[in-house]
């Protein structure tokens, strides 16, 4: 295994960095988009509500691979030239944002209705009450499930290998087919994934504990 690491270390590091980069970008945008869609899901505006609902239902219920392949094949053909790495990140972001939207919606709905009423009754508008009173409480509630979504996102980023995304899995496949040492190769690849997911898990747990101290 050490042999493998010494001769293919450069490739694995490159793959690791690409996986990390793809994960960070997708994590950021899927959190922003997912939170926004989640808020729209509880909005009283029928149009916004329906739009958010359609978004969630669509991307929650089709395989990630199909979404990614769509951006890898159809989009470059008709819209704009993008490579596998970009297509993978877009697909991953859209797919994960649907799950995050559902998580955020559940979080918002678990904040008692009296909180919204209290905010409204002191002269806040609906959106101000959301911002100052409901969302801060909802976000605390959703930290643990959100952590799970983040971990899933990192692992799902291995889908980039299917569209030549130059990620960890892509290089893993390459090395395995060159060396025929599949067992050691994929053990190494798994260890590299743990380097991202374990600290992420730890971080989310700390965040959870810090918030628990206040309530």
């Amino acid at each position: 295994m050490l042999e493998l690491l010494s001769s293919y270390g450069g490739m694995l590091t490159q793959g690791f960095l690409n996986t990390l980069l793809a994960s960070v970008i997708a994590l950021f945008f899927s959190t922003v988009i997912g939170t926004l869609i989640g808020i729209l899901r509880v909005s009283q505006n029928k149009f916004l509500n329906q739009f958010a609902n359609a978004y969630v239902q669509l991307f929650l219920n089709i395989p990630l691979l199909i979404i990614v392949l769509f951006f890898y094949t159809a989009v470059p053909m008709y819209v704009v030239q993008i490579g596998g790495f970009t297509a993978g990140i877009i697909g991953l972001t859209i797919y994960t944002s649907a799950f995050i939207a559902e998580t955020v919606r559940a979080g918002i709905q678990s904040v008692p209705a009296g909180q919204m009423e209290a905010g409204l009754s002191t002269g806040f508008t609906y959106w101000e009450t959301m911002r100052y009173i409901v969302l801060p409480q909802a976000l605390r509630i959703v930290i643990p499930p959100l952590g799970n979504q983040f971990i899933n996102l990192v692992k799902n980023s291995s889908i980039l290998a299917m569209v030549a995304g130059m990620d960890l899995m892509y290089y893993g496949d390459l090395i395995a087919s060159e060396t025929f040492n599949t067992f050691d190769t994929y053990i190494l690849v798994a260890l590299f994934y743990l380097v991202i997911t374990l600290p992420l898990t730890y971080l989310m747990q700390r965040l959870e504990r810090r918030n628990a101290a206040h309530s």
Partner: protein, 246 residues
């Protein structure tokens, strides 16, 4: 006395259920009105209409000179002047007591944070909870929470304060602390509309009693007069039940 709230033939439905039936009522500045009646009689619904937490289906409801039912009405503007205290307190659990009280003055009234803090401390002192200003609500008893909620309502300097069964969710031993604060406010001339089952409180500080049953106002009279001789049979029965319990 100046009328600050007027219900004119107000009706409200929940689906097929007729919750408020042709309500005609008015509330005067500086007056303490106690609203009583059996549960399901529409007391809380009537109260919640005043600050627009419930909408009315027809009739006219005028609060502080503004028609609540009109399309152009900005409810937030009305609510700045109408405070509300809830049965379940609804304090913000992610904020300290002081933050609970200063949030709306700072964000809605755009008060200077330092000034808002001073006012809040005076109000917390008034409800005898200044020492809890840095606590989080989860650490407080029900009675303490409700007194904080009253301070939060007062911080907006409202024209009128609505109380929706403020003592119904409290342990008996903490009820008096809350009632004492409410009595203090009443004596200071605060305009209050109180939905409650606390007949002792109603008797002591209520200027007027509104008795509701089946979505209707069946008695609306001076407090003393009401106790001495309730006219409606439902009011008589209700009073009979309450008094026999005391």
């Amino acid at each position: 006395m100046k009328e600050i709230i007027q219900f004119q033939k107000v009706n409200k439905y929940y689906g097929d259920f007729h919750a408020l039936k042709d309500i005609n009522l008015s509330f005067n500045k500086g007056e303490v009105t106690v609203v009583i009646g059996p549960s399901g009689s529409g007391k809380s619904t009537m109260l919640r209409c005043i600050n627009g937490l419930e909408s009315i289906d027809d009739g006219k409801l005028i609060v502080n000179g503004t028609d609540l039912h009109a399309k152009a009405t900005n409810l937030s503007q009305i609510r700045k002047r109408v405070g509300m205290v809830f049965q379940h307190f609804n304090l913000y659990p992610h904020m300290t007591v002081l933050e609970n009280v200063t949030l709306a003055p700072i964000k809605v009234l755009k008060q200077d944070p330092e000034e808002a803090r001073k006012t809040a401390e005076q109000l917390l002192d008034k409800v005898n909870l200044l020492d809890k200003k840095d606590s989080y609500p989860t650490r407080l008893s029900g009675g303490q929470k409700q007194r904080i909620a009253i301070a939060r309502g007062l911080a907006m300097n409202p024209e009128v304060l609505l109380f929706d069964e403020p003592t119904s969710a409290l342990d008996p031993e903490t009820i008096d602390d809350v009632l004492d604060v409410m009595k203090k406010l009443a004596r200071e001339g605060m305009t209050m509309i109180v939905v409650t089952h606390e007949m002792g409180f109603a008797r002591e500080v209520g200027d007027r009693i509104v008795f509701m049953a089946d979505g209707q106002v069946v008695e609306d009279r001076e407090a003393v007069d009401f106790y001495e001789n309730p006219r409606d049979p439902r009011a008589k029965q209700f009073l009979g039940k309450i008094i026999s319990h005391v």
